[in-house]
C-alpha cells in the first residue's frame, strides 16, 4: 500500500507544483469559453425549456474541463517520464502494474475534479447554477475523469514523442468531446447525427452529469452510468494488459 500511495503522492505533487499551468490555466480558459458563448448565444438559443443557454452549457463546459485535464494529467506525466527517462525509477521498483495503473488514474481524477470544482465555484458567482442531485454529479465526474485518466495512460504508453500525443488528443479526444453535446442537446440534431452521438461514450458522461444539475437529460442517468462504467472497465482492461506485458515501456 505504501508503494501505491507514494506513487499517487508523487503524481499529485507533480501537477500541484505547477498548479498555475495545470489547474488555474484550464479554469481560466473554460471561463473564457463561457463568457464568449453566453454573450453571443444567450438570447437566441434555448436547449431545455426554461433553462437559459448559458446555464445549460455550464455543466457541459465543466465536464469538458474535467475530461481534458484528467486526460492531460496521466498522458503528459507518462510521456515526460518516458522521454526524460525517469520512468525507470518506477519500472525498477516492485510496484505492481495494478498499483501503477490506479496511482496514475487516481491522480488524473484528482486533477480533473480540482479543475471542475474550481470552474463551478467561479461560475457560481455569476450564474444561478443549482445542483439538483450532488451524487449524480459526483459519480459522473468521477467516472468521466477515471475513464479519461485511463485513456491518457494508453496514449502515454503508446506515444513515443509529444507529436504522437497531440495526434491522439486532436483526432480522438477532442472530436469525441465536442461531438458529445457539450454545446447542445442532441435532441436538436437531425436523426442521423443523433444516432451517431449515441455511439460516443462521452455523450453519456455529459448527459448524466447534466442530469445532476437539471434533473432532465436525453437518456436515463442509470443507463448512462451503466454505459460509462462498461467503457471504463473495457479501457482499464486494455491499459492493464499493456502495463502487464510491458508494451513499449519494457521493450
Amino acid at each position: 500500500m505504501t508503494g501505491f500511495l507514494t506513487l499517487l503522492y508523487k503524481e499529485l505533487l507533480r501537477f500541484w507544483k505547477v498548479g498555475f499551468q495545470t489547474v488555474f490555466a484550464p479554469m481560466v480558459s473554460t471561463l473564457l469559453y463561457l463568457m464568449i458563448f453566453s454573450h453571443v448565444l444567450d438570447a437566441h438559443v434555448q436547449a431545455y425549456p426554461g433553462v437559459a443557454y448559458t446555464v445549460f452549457m455550464i455543466p457541459g463546459l465543466i465536464m469538458m474541463a474535467v475530461l481534458q485535464n484528467a486526460f492531460a494529467n496521466s498522458s503528459s506525466s507518462l510521456i515526460q517520464s518516458k522521454i526524460t527517462g525517469n520512468l525507470v525509477f518506477v519500472l525498477l521498483s516492485p510496484l505492481s502494474y495494478q498499483e501503477i495503473f490506479f496511482a496514475y488514474v487516481l491522480a488524473s481524477v484528482v486533477r480533473g475534479l480540482a479543475v471542475g470544482l474550481g470552474v463551478y465555484l467561479i461560475t457560481y458567482g455569476f450564474f444561478d447554477v443549482s445542483l439538483s442531485s450532488f451524487p449524480w454529479i459526483f459519480i459522473f465526474a468521477l467516472m468521466g475523469s477515471a475513464l479519461l485518466g485511463a485513456l491518457g495512460l494508453i496514449a502515454g504508453i503508446w506515444a513515443e514523442k509529444f507529436d504522437h500525443l497531440a495526434t491522439f488528443q486532436n483526432f480522438i479526444i477532442l472530436p469525441l468531446t465536442f461531438l458529445s453535446g457539450v454545446f447542445y442537446s442532441i435532441h436538436s440534431l437531425p436523426p442521423f447525427w443523433r444516432g451517431l452521438s449515441h455511439l460516443n461514450p462521452f455523450f453519456y458522461i455529459i448527459d448524466g452529469f447534466r442530469y445532476g444539475f437539471f434533473s432532465t437529460s436525453d437518456i436515463s442517468p442509470y443507463i448512462s452510468l451503466g454505459i460509462v462504467a462498461m467503457c471504463f472497465l473495457a479501457v482499464s482492461w486494455l491499459t492493464l494488459q499493456m502495463l502487464s506485458t510491458g508494451y513499449k515501456i519494457r521493450q
Binding site: T2, G3, T6, N86, P94, R250
Partner: protein, 310 residues
C-alpha cells in the same frame, strides 16, 4: 547457497540485431563482480533484463532465486540498479527524490538510512536543491543513492564512475566496498579496467552478446604468459629492433610486451647494440587491461548476419 544472480541461455534481439546471444552466468552472493566489454557488447542489455526494464527474447534470469518475470516484485526488491543514463525527475529535490524512491519499495520511515547515504555520497550540501540545478556528477551520485535506498542485497552499477571526479570516485568505491563487506553482492560495469582490477574478484568479458571470458582476475592474468617491461632511455628513442615489441608509450616511458621472460635477454642485447642507456626499468606482470585487449583481439565471433554491400 542461492546465487545472487543466475542467468540461463539469455537471448535478446532488437529486430535483426542480436544484442545477447545465449548468456549463461552465475554470480554468487557476496561477490564483487565486473561485467566488461567494449561499447555495444550487451552489458546494459543484460542488466536491463535482470532489472526487468527489458524483456528477454528467450532464456531466464533470477535474482536471489526469484525469477525476474514470474516473481518480479520479490526480484526487484532484492535489486538496486544504478542506470547508465543520467536520468532524474526535474520536479523534485534530492531529498524528495530519495524519499519517493524509498516509498516505492514500501519503506515509510527510512530517514536515518537516507541521511547516511546522503552523507556517504557527499550530497549533504545539495540535499534540498532541486535535481535540475545539480551538476552531472552530482546527479550521478543521486542515482547511486536511489539504488541504495532499500538496502538491496544485490547492487548493480552500470558505469557509475563515468563523469565523476576523483574524490567522489574514491569515496564511492570506499562506500561500495563497505557494503560488499557487509554482505551485499556488487556487480559493476566500467571502462576503467584498473578500477575493475582493484575492486573485483571475478569478471565476465562480453563481446557482441557472448561471454568470451569468465574467471577470477588472478586466473585470467596468469593465463597469459609473458610480461611487460617499462623503460626510460637515454637518448629518448626506442631502437628500431625493439619497435615490434612496443605495446604503448606513457610520457617518456616505453612499454614493451614480451611473450616470455626469456625475451628480456634479447631486449638487453638490442639496447646494448644501439648504445642506449637504461635510466629506469620495471618488469610487470600483465594487467587486466592487457588481458582484455588480448581476449577481445583473439576472439573472432562468427557472425550469423551477413552484411550486404550496397
Amino acid at each position: 547457497m542461492i546465487p545472487a544472480i543466475e542467468v540461463k541461455q539469455m537471448h535478446k534481439c532488437f529486430g535483426k540485431l542480436q544484442a545477447l546471444a545465449g548468456i549463461d552466468l552465475e554470480i554468487k552472493t557476496g561477490e564483487f563482480f565486473a561485467l566488461l566489454g567494449p561499447n555495444g557488447a550487451g552489458k546494459t542489455t543484460l542488466i536491463n533484463i535482470i532489472a526487468g526494464l527489458t524483456r528477454a527474447t528467450s532464456g531466464s534470469a533470477r535474482v536471489m532465486g526469484y525469477d525476474v518475470v514470474a516473481d518480479y516484485r520479490e526480484a526487484r526488491r532484492m535489486l538496486g540498479v544504478v542506470p547508465q543514463e543520467l536520468v532524474f525527475d526535474p520536479f523534485f529535490t534530492v531529498r524528495e527524490t530519495l524519499a519517493i524512491q524509498s516509498g516505492y519499495y514500501g519503506l515509510k520511515n527510512n530517514k536515518s538510512w537516507i541521511d547516511e547515504i546522503i552523507h556517504h555520497l557527499d550530497l549533504a550540501d545539495k540535499a534540498d536543491a532541486n535535481m535540475r540545478t545539480l551538476s552531472g556528477g552530482m546527479k550521478r551520485r543521486v542515482l547511486v543513492a536511489q539504488a541504495l535506498v532499500h538496502k538491496p542485497p544485490v547492487i548493480v552499477l552500470d558505469e557509475p564512475t563515468a563523469g565523476v571526479d576523483v574524490e567522489l570516485r574514491q569515496g564511492l568505491w570506499r562506500f561500495i566496498r563497505e557494503l560488499n563487506r557487509d554482505g551485499h553482492t556488487i556487480v559493476l560495469t566500467t571502462h576503467y579496467l584498473d578500477e575493475a582490477e582493484a575492486l573485483c574478484s571475478r569478471v565476465a568479458m562480453l563481446k557482441q552478446g557472448n561471454i568470451v571470458a569468465l574467471d577470477s582476475i588472478r586466473n585470467l592474468i596468469s593465463g597469459i604468459s609473458g610480461c611487460s617491461v617499462r623503460l626510460r632511455l637515454s637518448p629518448d628513442t626506442l631502437p628500431p629492433a625493439l619497435q615490434p615489441l612496443m605495446s604503448r608509450c606513457e610520457a617518456e616511458y616505453y612499454i614493451l610486451a614480451l611473450d616470455e621472460y626469456s625475451q628480456l635477454e634479447q631486449v638487453m642485447a638490442a639496447l646494448r647494440t644501439a648504445g642506449s642507456q637504461v635510466l629506469e626499468m620495471q618488469v610487470f606482470q600483465p594487467d587486466l587491461e592487457e588481458v582484455f585487449v588480448k581476449i577481445m583481439g583473439d576472439v573472432e565471433i562468427r557472425e550469423a548476419v551477413a552484411v550486404p554491400i550496397t
